[in-house]
C-alpha cells in the first residue's frame, strides 16, 4: 500500500502544475448543475413542492451533487482507455504496481487537488444560496450518508474501470464512454432526482448499479428513503459491488490475454 501512497503524493504534486486548468474543470463540473437549478427554480414559480421536493431540497440536491463529484465521481475510464489504446499499458505492466490501482490513485489525487481548488468557488456559491441549502444534522442519517458515499465511490470506480477495460476489445471507446454517460446521467440521478422520472424508469433504477453512485447518497442526505428502502438499497449496492468486482477481474484477465499493445 505504501507504493500507492507514494504514487498518490506524486500525482498530487503533478496536479498542482495545472492549477488554472483544474480550476476550469471545477467550473465545468458546476455549470450543468447551475443550468438545472436555474430551470428548476423557474419551474417553482408559485409552487411550494415538486414531486415531494421543496425549493431548498432541490437546490441542495444539485449543489451537493456537484460537491459529491470529488468523493464519488471522477474520470477513471478515459485514462485507462488511453493507456490500453495507445499501448502505454505495457510500460505500466512492467512496474511492480497494479495498473488499475495506478489509475485509481492518480485520479484520486487529481480529485483531492481539484476539491481544495474548488473550495473558494463552493464557499461563494454556498454564500449565495445559504438560505436555500439544507445543512446536515449530526445523527445516524449522517452516518448512513457517509457510508453510502464511500460505497458509491467504489461502485462508480468499478463501473468506470469496466468501461475503460472495454478498450481491449473496442479500439476507440470514446463513443461507448459517452453512451454510458448518457445512461448514467439519466439513471444515476445526475440529470434529475430519480423520483422525477417516469415510474417505469424509477422502478428499474432500483435494480441497476447507477442509482448506487450519486442518487443514493443524495436521497439519504435529503431523507427521501424509508427504513425498508434504505436496507434494500444497501443490499443491492453490496450485490453490485461484488458483481462489478468479479467482472473487473475477469475483463482485466481476459483483456491482457488478447492485448497486442499497438505501436509499442
Amino acid at each position: 500500500m505504501k507504493k500507492y501512497w507514494v504514487l498518490f503524493k506524486v500525482s498530487l504534486t503533478r496536479g498542482l502544475e495545472y492549477r488554472l486548468s483544474n480550476l476550469l474543470w471545477v467550473l465545468v463540473g458546476i455549470l450543468p448543475a447551475v443550468f438545472a437549478a436555474t430551470v428548476w427554480l423557474s419551474a417553482f414559480a408559485g409552487k411550494t413542492e415538486i414531486q415531494g421536493y421543496n425549493r431548498a431540497e432541490l437546490t441542495t440536491y444539485y449543489f451537493l451533487s456537484t460537491l459529491l463529484w470529488y468523493f464519488v465521481g471522477g474520470e477513471f475510464s478515459g485514462r485507462l482507455s488511453e493507456w490500453i489504446r495507445l499501448g502505454v499499458l505495457v510500460r505500466h505492466l512492467t512496474k511492480p504496481l497494479n495498473p488499475l490501482f495506478e489509475v485509481v490513485f492518480q485520479e484520486q489525487a487529481w480529485k483531492v487537488n481539484s476539491f481544495f481548488l474548488s473550495l473558494p468557488v463552493y464557499f461563494l456559491v454556498f454564500g449565495l444560496l445559504r438560505t436555500d441549502l439544507i445543512l446536515a444534522k449530526l445523527d445516524f442519517n449522517l452516518f448512513l450518508f457517509l457510508s453510502a458515499v464511500f460505497l458509491s465511490g467504489l461502485v462508480f470506480i468499478l463501473l468506470e474501470i469496466i468501461i475503460g477495460l472495454l478498450s481491449f476489445w473496442i479500439s476507440n471507446s470514446s463513443n461507448l464512454n459517452a453512451l454510458y454517460w448518457v445512461i448514467f446521467s439519466l439513471l444515476g440521478g445526475i440529470l434529475v432526482p430519480l423520483r422525477f422520472l417516469p415510474a417505469v424508469l424509477t422502478n428499474l433504477s432500483w435494480f441497476l448499479p447507477f442509482r448506487y453512485t450519486f442518487s443514493l447518497p443524495l436521497e439519504l442526505y435529503l431523507r427521501k428513503l424509508s427504513g425498508g428502502e434504505i436496507l434494500f438499497a444497501f443490499l443491492v449496492q453490496t450485490f453490485w459491488l461484488v458483481l462489478l468486482f468479479i467482472l473487473v477481474k475477469s475483463l482485466y484477465k481476459n483483456g491482457l490475454r488478447i492485448y497486442e499493445a499497438y505501436g509499442q
Binding site: L24, V28, V39, K47, I50
Partner: protein, 262 residues
C-alpha cells in the same frame, strides 16, 4: 477569401473519407450525439411534467427554442469545432507549422480541417424539434419572419464561431486547453434557455459581454414572439464586432507561436 470554398471542399472530401473508413465508429458516434440531444429533451419533458410554463414559455415553445439551439450550433460543430479543438494539440506538438506553410490563410485551414459529419444529427434533430413544435403550436409564420429568423441564425452562427476561435487562440499561450474548451462547451449550453429565465444582471451579461442569448433565444423569439428591428441590428453589430475581434485576436495569438519541439 477566394480560397475559402475550395479549401472547404478539400477538407469535406478528406473527412468524408475518414468517416467512411471507420463506419462503425461513425454510426456509434451518430447514435451517441443523437442520444445526447434526446437526453436534453428528456430533461425538458420531466420539467414540464411538473409545470405548465417556464418563464412564460410552454413546452412546445421551449422545444422550438431547443431545436433552434441545436440547429444554430450544428454548423460550427460540423465544420469548425473539431479543427479548432485540434489547434491546441498541433501547437503543443509543434505541428502547427504544417498549417502555417499551406498556401491558404491559417485561420481558414484551422477552422475547416476537422469536419465532423457525426454532428449532422444536430441538424436533423434540431429541424425535427422545430417542425414538431411549430405544428403543435399551430403557428402560422410569414415569409418575412422566416427570413428574419434565417438571418438571425446566420448571425448566431457567426457569434458562436467567433467565440470558439477566441477559445482556440488561447492555445498559443496555454499548454493545456481541454479544460477551457470543455468549460466553453458547458457555458454555451446556457444559450438554450429563454432570456426571461435569467435575473437582470445575468441577462445583461449574457447579452452584451458573452452574447449567448443571441445563439438561440433571440432567433427563436423571432418566430414565437416578436423581435424588434433594434434587436436585429444589435445582433448584426455584435456578430460583426465578435468576428472582427476574434480575427484580430487570432492574428495576435499567432505572433506567439514558437514552433516548440519541431
Amino acid at each position: 477569401m477566394n480560397k475559402l470554398l475550395p479549401t472547404l471542399v478539400v477538407y469535406l472530401k478528406l473527412n468524408l473519407k475518414i468517416a467512411v473508413e471507420y463506419r462503425s465508429d461513425f454510426a456509434l458516434g451518430f447514435v451517441r450525439h443523437t442520444l445526447e440531444l434526446v437526453l436534453a429533451v428528456v430533461f425538458l419533458k420531466v420539467i414540464y411534467q411538473n409545470t405548465q410554463r417556464l418563464s412564460g414559455y410552454n413546452e412546445n415553445e421551449l422545444l422550438f427554442l431547443y431545436g433552434t439551439f441545436f440547429l444554430a450550433k450544428s454548423f460550427v460543430k460540423i465544420f469548425c469545432e473539431h479543427g479548432l479543438v485540434r489547434v491546441s494539440r498541433l501547437v503543443r506538438e509543434g505541428k502547427f507549422d504544417f498549417v502555417l506553410v499551406k498556401p491558404v490563410d491559417a485561420q481558414i485551414v484551422a477552422s475547416f480541417m476537422g469536419v465532423d459529419f457525426r454532428d449532422l444529427s444536430k441538424i436533423f434533430f434540431g429541424l425535427y424539434l422545430m417542425v414538431y413544435s411549430l405544428k403543435a403550436l399551430n403557428l402560422e409564420v410569414g415569409l418575412l419572419t422566416w427570413l428574419t429568423f434565417t438571418f438571425l441564425i446566420v448571425l448566431s452562427t457567426t457569434i458562436y464561431y467567433s467565440l470558439y476561435l477566441i477559445v482556440a487562440t488561447f492555445s498559443f499561450w496555454l499548454t493545456e486547453t481541454r479544460s477551457l474548451e470543455s468549460f466553453f462547451s458547458e457555458l454555451i449550453e446556457l444559450g438554450k434557455l429563454p432570456r426571461s429565465v435569467w435575473p437582470a444582471g445575468a441577462r445583461f451579461f449574457l447579452t452584451y459581454f458573452l452574447p449567448l442569448v443571441f445563439l438561440a433565444a433571440v432567433p427563436a423569439e423571432a418566430i414565437l414572439r416578436q423581435v424588434s428591428w433594434p434587436t436585429v441590428v444589435g445582433a448584426l453589430l455584435l456578430s460583426l464586432f465578435f468576428l472582427y475581434f476574434s480575427r484580430r485576436f487570432w492574428l495576435f495569438g499567432l505572433r506567439f507561436y514558437t514552433s516548440a519541439s519541431s
